[in-house]
Amino acid sequence: MQCPKCRGNMRTFDRNGVHIEQCDGCRGIFLDYGELETLSRMENQWAQQNYAAPPPPAAGPAWGGGHHGGHGYHHGHRKSWVNALFSS
């Protein structure tokens, strides 16, 4: 295959499952259909593994039940226990 830019000879390489052609003259690279997408996908995966943000701190304790364990905040009948919020 001939380089579309400088008409030099292009050589085929396989790098991590991506098929590329590189020109011996100008070092330009030719990608086949779908290979640019493959490269982007691989770059994203690498970035996620290496630069993933730390998980945000927990908004409650690991043993909490009200909002984390699926019981939900007890909206309905608060009157019944509200005294507990006001006494020792």
Binding site: A58, G60, P61, G64, H71, H74, W81, A84, F86
Partner: protein, 273 residues
């Protein structure tokens, strides 16, 4: 209550008029006219209580009008403010509470002040239970060691706020002392963790505490400091609810059930190191 105690407190109030009993537990608290009179529990250490009553923080902590005695009970007399009551339910003063605690925690510890008594309250609460009761089992997994030495209220909840002459104040220095101030946030944290206080209310409380410069928790991960004390207060509140229901021969209410179920999870979840 001992039969003559009420009459004795009315005499000590120096006011006329019918008394209103505000609380009749280990303490007896009455209101007569514009003063509140409190008989402290029998066996209260007088030197410790006096050291606590001598902490004067104008605009922050209500100051007593006097200290007296009724038989073997120490009695304190206070100006009557407007308490926060369950009727204020529509808008509990979470922000005011958070701000007052932040200011309290910024004060130096006066020399001679005893330790705060939060952990003692936990131990006393589970002492009312039977050996196999869940909160009592969960108690054995708690770490009650204090990791700070700041000025701490020791028993903070919404009922420890009053309005006097338009200003909000903290009341009840009975458990005030040096210790880890994060304990003052632990009871609302325990309510929140058991679903008794909504995430919104919890955020308002903690947010106003942090915005007012509160230092007991790290803003980026407040549960790092809160986890242990909130476990302790959950056990205390569950134990108190259970003992009270048993004494009154009533069923556990929804709040008690939620707290006891948190005790189970506390036992199943090792504390973060």
């Amino acid at each position: 209550m001992p039969p003559d105690l009420l009459a004795h407190l009315v005499r000590l109030s120096g006011r006329e008029g019918p008394p209103t009993v505000l609380k009749d537990t280990r303490v007896l608290v009455i209101r007569v006219g514009d003063v509140v009179v409190k008989a402290h529990p029998a066996g209260t250490d007088e030197a410790d209580l006096r050291a606590r009553l001598n902490v004067r923080l104008p605009g922050l902590l209500l100051e007593p009008l006097g200290i007296d005695r009724a038989g073997d009970r120490i009695v304190t007399i206070w100006p009557a403010g407007q308490p926060v009551t369950p009727d204020d339910l529509e808008a509990p003063p979470w922000e005011e509470g958070g701000r007052l605690l932040a200011r309290l925690h910024a004060q130096p510890v006066p020399p001679g002040l005893p330790p705060m008594r939060g952990p003692e309250r936990v131990t006393r609460a589970v002492g009312r239970l039977e050996p196999g009761d869940l909160p009592r089992l969960a108690y054995r997994t708690l770490d009650l060691r204090q990791r700070g030495h700041g000025l701490t209220h020791g028993d903070w909840h919404l009922g420890q706020l009053i309005r006097l002459d338009g200003a909000w104040l903290l009341i009840d220095p009975d458990d005030l002392g040096y210790g880890d101030p994060v304990w003052d946030l632990a009871r609302p944290a325990a309510w929140f963790a058991s679903g008794l206080v909504s995430p919104d209310e919890w955020d308002r409380f903690l947010g106003s505490y942090l915005a007012a410069g509160g230092t007991a928790v790290s803003p980026e991960d407040p549960w790092r400091e809160l986890d242990g004390p909130a476990r302790a207060l959950t056990v205390q509140l569950a134990a108190t609810a259970m003992a009270t229901a048993r004494r009154d021969n009533t069923a556990l209410d929804e709040a008690a059930e939620a707290l006891i179920s948190s005790c189970e999870r506390i036992m199943a979840t090792p504390a973060p190191s």
